[in-house]
């Protein structure tokens, strides 16, 4: 289990003058589940897009199974924040999109749909699915090529809390069954800690790795496990730059509290 599947060495990634990622190195072992958490704009989604091959303009080197990332690699699956099912294809054809027209007839489509609990919706249109069901179909689509690595960009942020927990468990059981390695971007610290073997915390401006928190708990995990709570506080501490208080204002402003000006009642007008 110690073979390295993904090696990420990104020296720099810029959007024009703005530096998004600065000297970032991350290795992911085969079978590992890794979460990237960090504030908005820390470059975690950009990093995911680099690994997916959607971004190619960066300085550095990324290797998946020893090869450069490329779009449409059978080794890599991608799951977006929204399901992004194609509305004009049946659920089955969406899952088997990779196999070309009529891909819904591929035998693996039926297996995957059964695994995600959508066997009864094979011929349904995407409009007939709820948000959670649509995202389950998207997971099945991401796993169709049986990728070694599945990339997920805030996959459950658009569904309600209960659906999210069920989808998380579904994701874990399916990917354990397929032996898939996961790299997941999320805003949700609880989700990161519950799902991952390792939570990589990123800082913004520019994006760097602030540190990582290893969660050495066996699965299935109990969401109420105090060990998860401890891991969660470690992540939060890293997120806030090792400070326990996290007022999100510049230090000089924080040092000088605003003077409370007395209210000039005569300047105020009231609707009587």
């Amino acid at each position: 289990m110690s073979t390295t599947l993904v090696q990420i060495q990104v020296e720099e990634k810029r959007f024009r003058a703005h530096q998004v990622i600065d000297r970032l190195a991350l290795d992911i072992r085969a079978g590992e589940i890794v979460s990237l958490v960090g504030p908005s704009g820390c470059g975690k989604s950009t990093l995911l897009r680099i690994v997916a091959g959607l971004e190619t303009d960066y300085a550095g080197r990324v290797l998946i199974k020893g090869a450069e990332p490329q779009l449409h690699s059978p080794d890599v699956g991608f799951i977006f924040q929204e399901p992004r099912l194609l509305p004009w294809l049946s659920v089955a054809d969406n899952v088997g999109f990779e196999a070309g027209r009529g891909g819904g007839k591929h035998p693996r489509v039926g297996e995957l749909l059964a695994e995600v609990g959508l066997a009864a919706f094979t011929d349904a249109w995407p409009k007939q699915l709820s948000g959670g069901m649509a995202q389950r179909a998207a997971i099945a689509r991401g796993l169709f090529t049986q990728p070694a690595l599945l990339l997920l960009d805030e996959p459950f942020s658009a569904v309600d809390a209960f659906t999210r927990m069920r989808l998380q468990d579904l994701l874990l059981s399916i990917t354990a069954h397929h032996g898939t390695t996961l790299l997941l971007v999320t805003h949700d610290v609880d989700e990161a800690v519950y799902l991952s073997d390792r939570v990589v915390v990123m800082n913004s401006g520019p994006g760097r790795i602030a540190g990582d928190v290893v969660v050495p708990l066996p699965r299935p995990r109990d969401r109420r496990d105090p060990a998860l709570g401890r891991a969660r506080s470690e992540v939060l501490t890293l997120l806030n730059g090792a400070q326990q208080d996290y007022h999100d204002i510049a230090p000089d402003i924080a040092a000088a509290p605003p003077a409370a000006a007395p209210i000039d009642w005569s300047k105020l007008s009231f609707a009587v």
Binding site: L54, E82, R84, R101, W125, K127
Partner: protein, 260 residues
Amino acid sequence: MSTLSIAAGQARGWVLPLALLALWEVVVQAGWVGANMLPPPSELVHTLHDLATDGALLGHIGISTLRVLAGFAIGASLALLVGAVVGLSRQVEAYLDPTFQALRAIPSLAWVPLLLLWLGIDEAPKITLIAIGAFFPVYLNFVAGIQNVDRKLVEVGGIFGLKGRELVARIFLPATLPNLFTGLRSGLSLAWMFLVAAELIAATRGLGYLLTDGRETARADLVIVAIIVLALLGKLSDSLLQHAEKRLLGWRDVFDGRAA
């Protein structure tokens, strides 16, 4: 909805036309309006029967339908071709679209004298005119459809490695299908309109010729029969497209007339 209530809904649509027909018959039979100006429905049925039995009507319908089909096919295919290029490339759009917008502003009948000058009085000017009529609605709707395709769905195509023709066929074309059908249906109705314009001016056969013939021989019944046949043909061809639209666009998540 049950089959019965659908049938009831369709029956409701027949009430007004049938009442008007009855009123028409009564007004003419009572002598309030001259039968030479407004032939009663019973006489129209007679005329229709005569035309149908000597085969003249079928000939007129046949030639008119052929002209519409040919013109519509040419105009719509060109519109698909040009629309795809203009819709997919901002650069081509910058070169071509202003010209097409300007050409669109020309009232289509203004083309008629020019087409007659250039192409004579055979089939060519008629089919060209119909093609011009069908071109613009298809072109405009198709371009608008392509430019409104959800970027996120295009990105899904990218993730699956689709490029060029594959991307157009598997993402853009299905995504623009709703717009395309709107364009095709209005293109087809314009094609029928332009057919009449073309046949009114220079033709020896066709439904437009029947209209002219009726006027020149002072036979209002011929004119009205031609109008009715045109209406039926227009409706029939539109229904065919509508049927195809319903079958192909069942996936759309749209308001279906029933409040939730």
